[in-house]
Assembly symmetry: D2
Homo-oligomer: 351 residues x 4
């Protein structure tokens, strides 16, 4: 990009929380101009009427998904924040010069069988699939810089992988790894549903989709890339729970080091510090992180504990930012040669 | 009732929060046997599967609304916890020996025009309407004892009227009365909706239905009964707001005493203490009540403040108990000659 | 006990949440008369002024801890709800005819060294310790019936042990067991502190006391009693986290069955159903339990999941009821020959 | 200021929520360099260790309050975010070239008697008092531009005055005005206390300091400036309540228009639109505002309702931003000739 030139961005699916957070970030990104945002059910309405946090901050209006995509020739980058299955239809039709960041699960899995099993449909664009880079920025930064098509990771996958990758890469652990993950209610999307009905959710905590969350295969796939030695398909135990807060994912990761190979919390911190050198958005903390300190930001806070051969890694993100829209913009920055922090200095409040 | 004999109770509309709380109370009421509970969308399902708080506590199953009501001859009392408009259809068809407590707005208003204006339909049972007693227990206790048909007050109306009636009855105030009322999210019912979507509701506070809430006319009607001297239609300002809690209504009531007629908080407390002598479920507190101390209970806590000619009365209830199911059972107790506290010693927790 | 006779009860430490919940239950227990409740900092004050949920429900006043314990001869049962370390001083001085339920950690551990390590003080009553029965009702019911002295389990220990004991007893699991436990804020007590400061806690989730919570040794001790075959000191991984709700503990328990020994969720349910036959307060649920459905009650809800050799057990309680005051009363009931449910039909609300 | 030059800023009292939010804003303000931040109890500690939202974002450390203020000669602007009473001591000792924004109540009231009554101490700097401008930006913008000393309004005063000033200025209302105001828990500060103890606060709502909140006199004083015709001391009824959220103030304002002088919600909107022309941070909304849409931002959202002669104005702010730190920076911007929006494009999230 020429310095000062703007990236012309289109957002498909601007009415959900992913789209909403993309708008919160991109409308104030110094190098971006949002030229299109679609939401079929709100076509014609002002964006600021639907996302009332943006009242007074934008004149943009929602549009229908275009019938043909010729007009997208003057768009530089498209974000897809659509329900699973729609990106499969759209990406093949996009002009080949347009870069794409897809926030859905459509292009995360390389194995078409696994895709079918977890998403309940045939993968109809397996050739394109090969071109997609998995957009876990801190792990695949160099590939992302060169990519035209990036598949943004799931929120649970982001928290889990950032917490587990350094340990896996170091070959420091053996046997079963247990990941107990918890998410805030915005993870269920902007549409009202029984599990996000306030009177019930406000005082609740429960497990859901036990062992079968659709983020499991992308976690296993990425861990396999990082460390082929481990039998992740059998050794990863992953469980999702619902927290009574709006935002935040917290993953508690339990592993065991080899006999004789003890690691203290400080050892772990040193290992992760090396691994994440140069990664501004991963912050290592003393003791436990807290979702309160990452809310509304693109940070992933990671902390450690150890006793004997047992180790625990705690990872906290905002599910809508580092777990979705923030990481998507971080990836766009890299794809266009910008500093990955550009437009992402979202500072959280205290309290 | 013969001592020891059980009141056979039928509940129409057992799947909403009103029905749910009726079940929580009536299934453990020492003088009640629940013989029927309807919920068309759950017909055949175990009650405890729908209301999971009751798991292990009842074998009862939901039934469809009966096609004819002959079978209800062996029911002593029917509670109607249905959407507005349905009691209008059902009550006229009930056997004349059955006592009724209706929790909807169908029979609260004596004026058919007002009913039409606020509920958007013709009143089709105006003759029956005359037989209904407005079930604000502490105000209409003697009429309720003799009633066959009782119309249970709205939740906002209960909090407001219990807070305002003694002042109105004493003729102590003049001019405009402002009622700023706030409700928890369960007041919107058990069906998920945009305004009770957890991610949004959890950090929100806002006003809604400004000046036009459907409880306004029943408040004005009852205040008129208590004190015809006041021009309530012009002098009552009533506003509803949404609180980010599951349960609770808090009404802040602002009034002005006559020139020369100052009342301190202690004077107010003495006045209310007189008025509510013998009313176990109204508790007078020092300073402000708190919805936290009445949640899950049938209490209405009332507190006072005064400065110069300005006075404030604060009234707090659980919207589903004193504001709905609890008061309904309190009324049933009276209608069957029982102590009004029977089955209603629901003690709230701390915290 | 003669039928109809009342158990005269004294409560030491009535100002904290444990004491508060004991009062909520015991004041309405049909076979109990509370004759004494102490709280040195509130001596002379009305109980209902401190615990405002009890306003209008009791005339009882807090007293100072008696200087000598002669007067306790006409007390049948003493509950100790005091900070750790105080029961050590008091129990030896109590008249020998008085039965005791201690809610602190003072008499839970048989090993004086472990006590010193986790509670930071010498155990000064090791002889008495031998007489104490660990009051996990569903596991030690028969011993509790015969006991004069009962040590009530910790809240985390209760949730964890009820979730894990059947599996341990069946010898069905091998290797490491991971327990990821989460508690509501009332677990930190009634005194304001940084970790329960509302602005911070309301949107937070974090781990604390990693691997070192003081409930770990009582969990290991009890699991050892249930199944000596397992090396619990090395194979139990226990982690505590903070939830942004007032009440509730949720334990996610991860284990692995022997090769060849797969168990489905239904198998697990059948195993637990056998184990908890006759245990009214343990409820087995489909899928996951939810703290929302046990809040304010004495229930422990347990659910299951399985995939391959991996199994997960989920256990949910109210930390102040089944995790403290409720279980204490359940134990008292047994110690005095009553049905364990007496006074404990605390039905939770929906929502 | 020369374009590009930085304002050197010192913050006194950086450990509370006011100081914390000042840091969140000023550390990223393009025209500010924070050169000093004091917090006696944390002297020497890293700011990011105390305010964990700032982890990784600043190397700044807390210092003790300087013994003499000579060194402050190279500071351009001082923010005082100290408990009431301390600014009284500090401001007279500051070098005369330093500009000051005081966030406490020390210099808000022109009447020393009123100050003594509400703050419980003598005003010891009445001469300086005269030089202070009341920093309600949208009302006193021109005076603030010329001021050296600015006294930042209280949070309740900001929400109330922005909601009421246009109406008062228009002379459109008569008689009593009732303001029912509600605040989130961060309004009570960063120190744990009984009223912000999470287990209690999480499900509570109550009134406090009835009629006597210390923000009442500054509201009356400012309304008197705007409209001397109204007898505010007798006609303003102001009540504060506690909301179970971290952030946000919502003021419901009830007034009555002259007979014959009816105003619709649209009329009100037009009046306010005129009044706030050019005021970016006041946003007029349809219906009711919601604290959810202003949280973490410097916006004040205002909405309207009307029925007959009754009108209601609703005003929502973030108590720590527009109600404290944000408005303080907005004032600093004006005092140094900058666009008032500089560094204040804090965009709130959805949800």
């Amino acid at each position: 990009m020429l310095s000062g030139e703007k990236i012309r961005v289109g957002i498909f699916g601007g009415s959900g929380y992913g789209g909403s957070e993309l708008l919160r970030i991109l409308l104030f990104h110094p190098r971006v101009e949002v030229t299109l945002v679609t939401a079929n059910e709100h076509a014609g309405k002002a964006v600021a009427e639907v996302h009332r946090n943006l009242h007074g901050l934008t004149e943009l209006r929602f549009e229908k998904t275009p019938e043909d995509f010729e007009g997208l020739n003057d768009v530089d980058c498209v974000f897809l924040a659509l329900p699973h299955g729609q990106a499969l239809e759209i990406v093949p039709r996009l002009p080949s010069g347009v870069k794409v960041v897809d926030l859905s699960g459509d292009f995360r899995l390389r194995d078409a069988e696994q895709f079918k099993e977890h998403y309940g449909r045939e993968h109809t664009a397996t050739e394109l699939q090969r071109e997609f880079v998995y957009g876990l920025t801190e792990i695949n930064r160099e590939e992302i810089k060169r990519a035209r098509l990036v598949s943004n990771p799931g929120c649970f996958a982001t928290a889990t992988l950032l917490g587990l990758a350094p340990l896996a890469a170091a070959g420091a652990i053996k046997g079963r790894v247990v990941v107990d993950a918890k998410t805030g209610s915005s993870g269920s999307g902007a549409k009202p549903a029984a599990n996000t009905h306030h009177p019930q959710r406000a005082n609740s905590f429960y497990a859901y989709k036990p062992f079968t969350h659709q983020h499991v295969p992308e976690i296993e796939q990425t861990l396999g890339d990082v460390s082929a030695a481990h039998d992740w398909a059998n050794e990863l135990v992953f469980m999702t729970h619902s927290l009574p807060v709006s935002r935040g994912i917290f993953a508690s990761i339990y592993a065991e080091v080899d006999e004789g190979g003890r690691m203290s919390a400080d050892d772990l911190s040193a290992l992760y510090s090396d691994f994440y050198r140069g990664s501004f958005f991963v912050r290592l903390v003393k003791g436990s992180p807290d979702i309160n300190w990452v809310k509304t930001t693109n940070f992933c806070d990671i902390g450690f504990a150890a006793r004997g051969r047992q180790i625990a890694v705690f990872s906290a993100i905002d599910n809508l930012v580092k777990g979705a829209a923030g990481q998507a913009v971080q990836n766009m920055n890299l794809m266009f040669g910008l500093d990955e922090k550009t437009g992402l200095m979202l500072v959280g409040g205290n309290p």
